[in-house]
């Protein structure tokens, strides 16, 4: 039913999605906090840039990342100079692409969560001797927990479901950059429908489970806020 290559692809997909989610939360939380608090004129353009991956075709994103990370691109030149080789067609390159591709899915729920807290709890924390740093960790983050959870689930699921970016910068190398979505593509091209069915069916089940979790989470979150 599932052969060695399939399991390899599933494992790689989970690894990529987990790493992407963890790194995305680390990057998105400060970024979302800044976007929710700032009155800078840079807020609108930065916000637009963060949202770009949502509307751009993955091929466009993949194309630019490929150019950027290739031997002639600035990032490629940098990694070459550091003796790391080029990142295109590697797992690291794929990870960077995934992070950028899923950025809006992590930033937006966290930003909305921070915004819905409003200034009052943080002001209350300040009147109770909490420094801004302290208040962020002891008040803002715990209150934004539903948003952080939504961001994590969405990032994970979105990374599992990505295809275009993976194909463009990953190159579909078995064991290195071949994930479930590209594996299915390969099966279909080779007319191996039975194999494709198992993986595709698994993806449908997984995605349904994720969305069900989100819906249940939202309802629980709402009842807690009431």
């Amino acid at each position: 039913m599932l052969d060695h290559h399939a399991w390899q692809a599933i494992w790689l997909t989970l690894e990529l999605a987990t790493l992407t989610t963890v790194l995305l939360l680390l990057v998105s939380t400060p970024l979302a906090w800044w976007l929710s608090q700032t009155r800078s004129r840079w807020r609108a353009p930065i916000s637009a840039v963060v949202t770009l991956p949502l509307v751009l075709p993955p091929t466009v994103l993949g194309f630019y990342l490929l150019v950027l990370m290739g031997p002639q691109g600035p990032l490629g030149q940098l990694t070459l100079a550091l003796g790391l080789g080029t990142l295109s067609f590697t797992f690291t390159g794929l990870l960077i692409g995934s992070i950028i591709f899923s950025l809006p899915f992590a930033v937006q729920p966290i930003q909305h969560a921070f915004e819905s807290i409003g200034p009052r709890p943080l002001e209350a924390a300040a009147t109770l001797r909490a420094s801004p740093f302290d208040a962020f960790f002891s008040v803002a983050l715990p209150l934004a927990r539903p948003g952080l959870l939504t961001a994590a689930i969405l990032s994970f699921a979105h990374t599992v479901g990505e295809f275009g970016v993976v194909l463009m910068i990953g190159g579909n190398i078995p064991g290195k950059t071949r994930v479930v979505s590209t594996q299915i593509y390969g099966h279909v091209e080779a007319m191996e429908y039975a194999q494709a069915h198992w993986l595709a069916g698994g993806m449908v089940a997984f995605s349904f489970a994720v969305l069900l979790c989100l819906a249940l989470l939202k309802r629980k979150g709402a009842s807690v806020v009431r």
Partner: protein, 360 residues
């Protein structure tokens, strides 16, 4: 008592500039009173450092929190103050106990749990400690918020319309707790409200704000008796006087309250003889006669001397301020009566009081 607490602030608002210079006594409640949008909350936020006044000087005790002459501005979290917001500001992710401990753990004089225990008893919230804020009523939330502020042992307690978001029964429920604070805490409290009821029940001192300026300031009895303040001259215009319960008459359910110039009969709602009470007398419940009334349904009448005749909010009406030895009462009469009775400063009159509210 030395006036060591000084608050001088100037800041620009959309419609007007706020410009105040306040002295707070070392203890007791100073009420910042004024209509909505008169700049009361801005003043409070500036004292707390939540907003920064364009130019200001704030000194509480021996600590200077803001002095723009010397470029001193202490951020809010370094000011030893307590702040109670208009709506509940409890941390929803913590239970009541941990809400109370939040400030305590961060206060400079740490590990002193006795302040927390005292606050818990003072506000009567011991049975609520394990609850989540979501499971509390509005009145309970505000009591927890006040206790949380007190647990940090603040040097100044700021209250921004703490009852405004509550309905009438909840206000009645929480008012006695606020009166306990006033009588038992040894720190100054600055209390913002636009409610005449809260002002007359809670205030020791009052500062009346109008469009960002302090138009009157002083002990609550004196300020309320001035009567010529636009902010006070509404349906609720009146005065607050203090007296001692002399005796209670079980047959008529009345209590006699001794005042310097005589006594008043009030409805007895379980008053104890010898206790001090505050009475609130609205100007609309006070009428004037030139002779001592003998055959009248109105039980209470006192001799006095007209002090001033002032314009009221309606052109038909005047507010007459009458001095009755120590206290001052105001009476709402028509200008027609003023002319017919020849009411003028210095004239001896009898003051008839139709209704007296015992407020504390």
């Amino acid at each position: 008592m030395t006036l060591t607490n000084r608050i001088r602030l100037k800041l620009a608002r959309a419609q007007f500039d706020v410009d105040v210079d306040l002295h707070l006594p070392g203890t007791g409640i100073t009420v910042l009173f004024g209509a909505s949008g008169s700049g009361k909350t801005s003043v409070l936020r500036c004292v707390a450092g939540l907003e920064r006044a364009a130019s200001g000087f704030v000194r509480i005790g021996d600590a200077v929190w803001q002095d723009d002459g010397q470029d001193i501005f202490t951020p809010t979290w370094r000011r030893p103050l307590g702040y109670v917001f208009q709506e509940a500001s409890l941390f929803e992710h913590l239970d009541v106990q941990r809400n109370l401990e939040y400030g305590l753990r961060r206060a400079a004089r740490s590990a002193d749990r006795s302040a927390l225990e005292e606050a818990v008893d003072l506000l009567g919230i011991r049975t609520l400690l394990q609850r989540r804020p979501q499971a509390l009523s509005g009145g309970e939330r505000q009591r927890v918020a006040i206790a949380r502020a007190l647990a940090t042992q603040p040097r100044l307690l700021l209250l921004d319309e703490p009852l405004a978001s509550l309905d009438l029964p909840r206000r009645r429920e929480i008012m006695p707790w606020l009166e306990r604070l006033r009588d038992q805490l040894a720190i100054p409290m600055l209390y913002v409200t636009h409610s005449m009821d809260e002002l007359s029940r809670l205030a020791d001192e009052v500062v009346v704000l109008d469009k960002g300026r302090a138009v009157a300031a002083g002990p609550v009895g004196e300020v309320l008796a001035q009567g010529d303040l636009p902010a006070l001259a509404d349906e609720e215009a009146g005065t607050v006087i203090q007296g001692v319960v002399l005796e209670c008459d079980a047959r008529w359910h009345l209590a006699r309250v001794q005042l310097p110039e005589g006594s008043l009969l009030v409805r007895d709602n379980g008053l104890a003889a010898g206790s001090r009470v505050r009475l609130r007398i609205l100007a609309r419940d006070v009428s004037l006669t030139l002779d001592e009334p003998t055959r009248s349904s109105i039980q209470n009448h006192l001799p006095g001397v007209v002090d001033a005749v002032m314009a009221d909010s309606h052109p038909a009406q005047a507010l007459v301020r009458v001095r009755c030895s120590g206290n001052t009462l105001t009476s709402r009469v028509t200008w027609k009566s003023v002319e017919e009775l020849q009411l003028r400063p210095g004239l001896a009159v009898w003051v008839q009081v139709k209704s007296v509210a015992v407020i504390a």
